[in-house]
């Protein structure tokens, strides 16, 4: 997940918007209760906190994956809600 996605801002967001999103994210992941989540939020904020950092990221990022399969982790669990149709169709296909 890119730092922008992690903080929930668009890539054209300015310093103030990013700072506000960071404060909101810190409230959701306070360092004392969710240190791991806070670290991620903090790293994302540092990566895009000012124009220079954002330019750096745009020109010299994103970092390549160490392993190609890391991409799957980055995509997340990928659980999709498909509605009842495909479930019922599968049951009919497998047959009672």
């Amino acid at each position: 997940m890119s730092p922008f996605e992690l903080l929930g801002v668009v890539e054209t967001a300015g310093d103030d918007e990013i700072r506000a999103a960071y404060h909101k994210a810190v409230l959701a992941h306070p360092p004392d209760r969710d240190p791991e989540g806070f670290q991620k939020v903090r790293a994302a904020f540092d990566a895009i906190r000012d124009e220079e950092a954002r330019l750096e990221l745009r020109l010299f990022g994103p970092p390549p994956f160490q392993s190609l399969l890391e991409l799957l982790d980055e995509l997340g669990e990928g659980k999709r809600w498909v509605g009842p149709g495909p479930w019922i169709a599968t049951l009919k296909e497998t047959g009672p």
Partner: protein, 804 residues
């Protein structure tokens, strides 16, 4: 070795397991074939049971496909072949009869039936119910029929659970569905689905385990177990696997393509890598913009690493496509790991293409140019060598005449970066680069930098220091004053003000400009450093010298100044050193002290002098008698004080005392050993003007290895200082490179110990030819030094006796 009989390897239990797995995976035909084979091979009740089980599954499959007649025929066949299956086949035939009438018939029979018959029909209904909607909308049941109400509730919650996060209270609406209801398995399925989406494998496991083997929804249990991670290895039938793929947004296909791409890259199979890279790109979800971008960066990096041609990059990563600017950027970044020359060229192309799509901002251009410059090797010799050019000057010439591209001119890249955005970063990079090559050009850049960005401290520090080096105190002070007016005077610059004022004061004393000197003294005394012990004492010494400069010396004021100096210094030897140094400004020497200098006082004075020298940034004059006397205290000195003496000896050319101190310092293995060795090597360099002896290099190598092993950065600094001195000696540079002091084969612990042991055995005193003979000790320690000749005393007469 005898072959194991087939039956022994398989056996009824193993066959039952295998056939059970086939049935679970929906591979019913395979299960029937396997059961038939097994029955042929090992006839008996066990194999018959497996055969009946497999046929029953096949009969149900035929029923589900609407092939009732075929299902009935198969029931008859099985019953004939295995008479023990009669009861089961009869039940299946009845099911066929009911199903031939459809759900309507089954429900009608359910309405009629009671007791065991009703229970049997409910089980059959649970087994057949692939969609709760069938019951919910059935016209065969009245609107208020409990089954219909249950089915409607189940359908609503099932739809919710498969369409988005299930509200906490949703499951409570199914409380009225009893365990004996044909919809009970659906309730369990919904709970398992909810557990899957909430990431609760335990809930999935619990609810799937509670599903009865014959229920219609049981095949989905395997899917939920596998997808939630509760049982990732669970084999899935083809339709269930297809649903799993849908639920995971095509993760299975993606994983497969990524693995194939990895194999293609590893085996340098360009065709395979290209094919699967395209598949990965196609399988990536549309919303995953940042992951797609990162994959493209990764693909280009791996593509370059595999040695494939960049122009063959596949799909949307191809340099000819719409994303080519990004691709060129990724290529340049990938090249950085392989070949900096190509990477710099890649970035140059990027800048060119970037300007085609609209002018880049100054910041962007500067960032790229600075990045390009940072890719060069630090040394200009290495740059020339990498480009196959003889020397840095030849490199510049080849760039000038167009033989080499202009982007290999690092200074020009940095200058362009400065021109593009005029940032501090750009100026700093250009200035740092030029400082290593040409001080004059660097000074010009610093001046431009200061003019463009007066708030940046670096150029001001440089300009002030440069003025100080030229002893242009007026300019240095004016720069500092202007910075103060503009509120740009940071702590670093504020600290310089004292040094500048002292430098100006010394110059004014030398020139006999008493009024100016007095004003400088007043200003210097207002600086915070003036309250420090050694610096305050030095100012007192300067005041003492000032009283004697100019046309009219002031004896009373001189005496008062001397008293103030003595009160601040608290040590006659230190007073003498300060007077000797201040008197040097007037080209005169003070009288010898009337009291006997004790070795302890002399040693303490040398240590204090060593502390003072870096603050003043100039050496002080230490009378030989103080040095000689201090030698008597070496044995009682602490390692820190010994080290201070070594370092002072190095800085102020007292090699004999420094060497003697290192002898005491290396006598024991302590944390300062590497620094004592460095100082020893430095003291030894003064012995032989013909070049560094092998002994010096041996000590330096040992010191370097020791400091490196102990992660002793100060030790490394000490070695580095000593190396600078060795390099400065005639032939030193050549000897250093020939003997490879910086090589990788540095001495190991044993070799270091041997060097130290050897040094401990060698004479403790260095007979330095550089020391002037007149300060050599000629008397045993503890004896008072004789007074200097009259010619050295003249007007600067002062006797410590006056102060006592």
């Amino acid at each position: 070795m005898p072959k194991t009989p087939l039956t022994a390897r398989t056996g009824p239990a193993a066959e039952a397991t295998r056939i059970g797995e086939l049935l679970e995976q929906g591979r019913i035909r395979d299960a029937v074939e396997s059961a038939k084979e097994f029955a042929k091979r090992s006839p008996g009740p066990a194999s018959d049971e497996l055969l009946v089980e497999s046929y029953s599954a096949r009969i149900r499959q035929l029923q589900a496909e609407g092939l009732d007649r075929d299902a009935r025929s198969l029931c008859d066949l099985v019953e004939r072949r295995i008479p023990a299956s009669r009861e089961r086949m009869t039940a299946l035939r009845n099911e066929c009869d009911l199903l031939a009438q459809g759900f309507r018939g089954l429900l009608a029979a359910l309405e009629r039936g009671d007791g065991d018959e009703r229970r049997r029909l409910l089980v059959l209904l649970a087994r057949k119910l692939c969609d709760p909607g069938v019951l919910a909308d059935s016209e065969a049941l009245p609107e208020d029929h409990p089954l219909k109400l249950e089915a409607r509730a189940v359908r609503a919650v099932f739809t919710a659970a498969t369409s988005g996060p299930l509200p906490d209270e949703a499951m409570a609406t199914l409380d009225f569905v009893s365990r004996s209801s044909p919809l009970a398995p659906w309730k369990l399925l919904i709970r398992a689905i909810d557990g899957f989406y909430r990431g609760d494998p335990e809930s999935v496991r619990r609810n799937v385990a509670a599903l009865s083997a014959g229920s219609a929804v049981t095949p989905l249990g395997a899917l939920l177990l596998a997808a939630s991670g509760a049982d990732p290895q669970k084999p899935l039938s083809v339709p269930v696997a297809a649903l799993a793929e849908k639920l995971s947004s095509g993760r299975g296909t993606l994983r497969e393509s990524l693995e194939e791409l990895e194999r293609g890259l590893e085996k340098r199979d360009q065709h395979r890598a290209s094919r699967f890279a395209e598949r990965v790109l196609a399988a990536l979800p549309a919303g995953a913009g940042s992951v797609r971008q990162r994959f493209r960066a990764t693909l280009v990096a791996r593509w370059v690493r595999a040695g494939f041609p960049p122009e063959a990059l596949p799909g949307e990563v191809s340099p000819g496509r719409a994303n080519r600017l990004d691709t060129i950027r990724y290529l340049a970044l990938a090249m950085e790991q392989k070949d900096w020359t190509q990477a710099v060229g890649g970035w140059d192309i990027y800048l060119e293409l970037r300007s085609l799509s609209g002018p880049p901002t100054g910041k962007e251009t500067a960032a790229v140019l600075l990045h390009m410059a940072s890719l060069f090797p630090p040394s200009e010799d290495d740059v020339a060598s990498a480009l196959g050019v003889h020397c840095p000057e030849c490199l510049r010439q080849e760039i000038r005449d167009g033989t080499l591209p202009a982007f290999f001119d690092r200074e020009a890249l940095l200058a362009r970066a400065v021109a593009a955005d005029g940032s501090r970063r750009g100026f700093l990079a250009l200035f740092s680069f030029q400082s290593g090559l040409d001080e004059k050009v660097a000074a010009e850049t610093a001046a431009r930098w200061h003019a463009a960005r007066p708030g940046d401290p670096e150029p001001l520090v440089f300009l002030v220091e440069e003025a100080m080096r030229r002893k242009d105190w007026k300019r240095a002070l004016s720069l500092l004053e202007r910075a103060e007016e503009e509120k740009h005077l940071g702590p670093e610059l504020r600290g310089k003000r004292f040094s500048v004022l002292v430098g100006q004061l010394e110059m004014q004393i030398q020139k006999g400009q008493c009024a100016g000197a007095r004003a400088s003294l007043v200003l210097a005394r207002k600086e915070p450093q003036a309250s420090e012990s050694e610096l305050g004492a030095y100012l007192a010494a300067l005041e003492w010298a000032l009283c004697q400069s100019g046309r009219k010396p002031e004896p009373t004021a001189t005496l008062e100044a001397a008293k103030r100096l003595a009160a601040r210094a608290h040590n006659p030897a230190f007073v003498w050193i300060l007077m000797a140094s201040a008197g040097e400004l007037l080209k005169r020497s003070p009288l010898l002290p009337a009291t006997i200098l004790t070795p302890r006082e002399s040693f303490a004075a040398l240590v204090r002098t060593q502390r003072l020298v870096p603050r003043l940034d100039r050496p002080l004059k230490v009378p030989g008698e103080v040095l000689w006397s201090a030698e008597g205290h070496l044995d009682g000195a602490s390692p820190d004080d010994l080290l201070a003496l070594c370092e002072g000896g190095g800085a102020m050319a007292w090699p004999r005392e420094a060497f003697a101190a290192t002898t005491r310092g290396i006598a024991s293995d302590g944390p300062l050993l590497a620094r004592f060795l460095g100082a020893r090597a430095r003291a030894l360099t003064t012995r032989n003007d013909a070049g560094p002896p092998g002994r010096v290099l041996e000590i330096l190598r040992a010191a370097l290895a020791l400091a490196g092993t102990n992660h002793d950065t100060e030790g490394l600094g000490s070695v580095s200082t000593a190396l600078r001195h060795v390099r400065a000696t005639p032939g030193g540079r050549k000897a250093l490179s020939a003997l490879g002091v910086f090589g990788e084969d540095l001495p190991d612990a044993e070799a270091i110990r041997a060097v130290v042991a050897k040094e401990r055995l060698l004479p403790a005193i260095l007979d330095s030819p550089k020391l002037p003979r007149k300060v050599r000790p000629t008397k045993p320690p503890g004896r008072p030094a004789k007074k200097k000749p009259e010619s050295q005393r003249e007007e600067l007469s002062f006797d410590f006796g006056d102060l006592e």
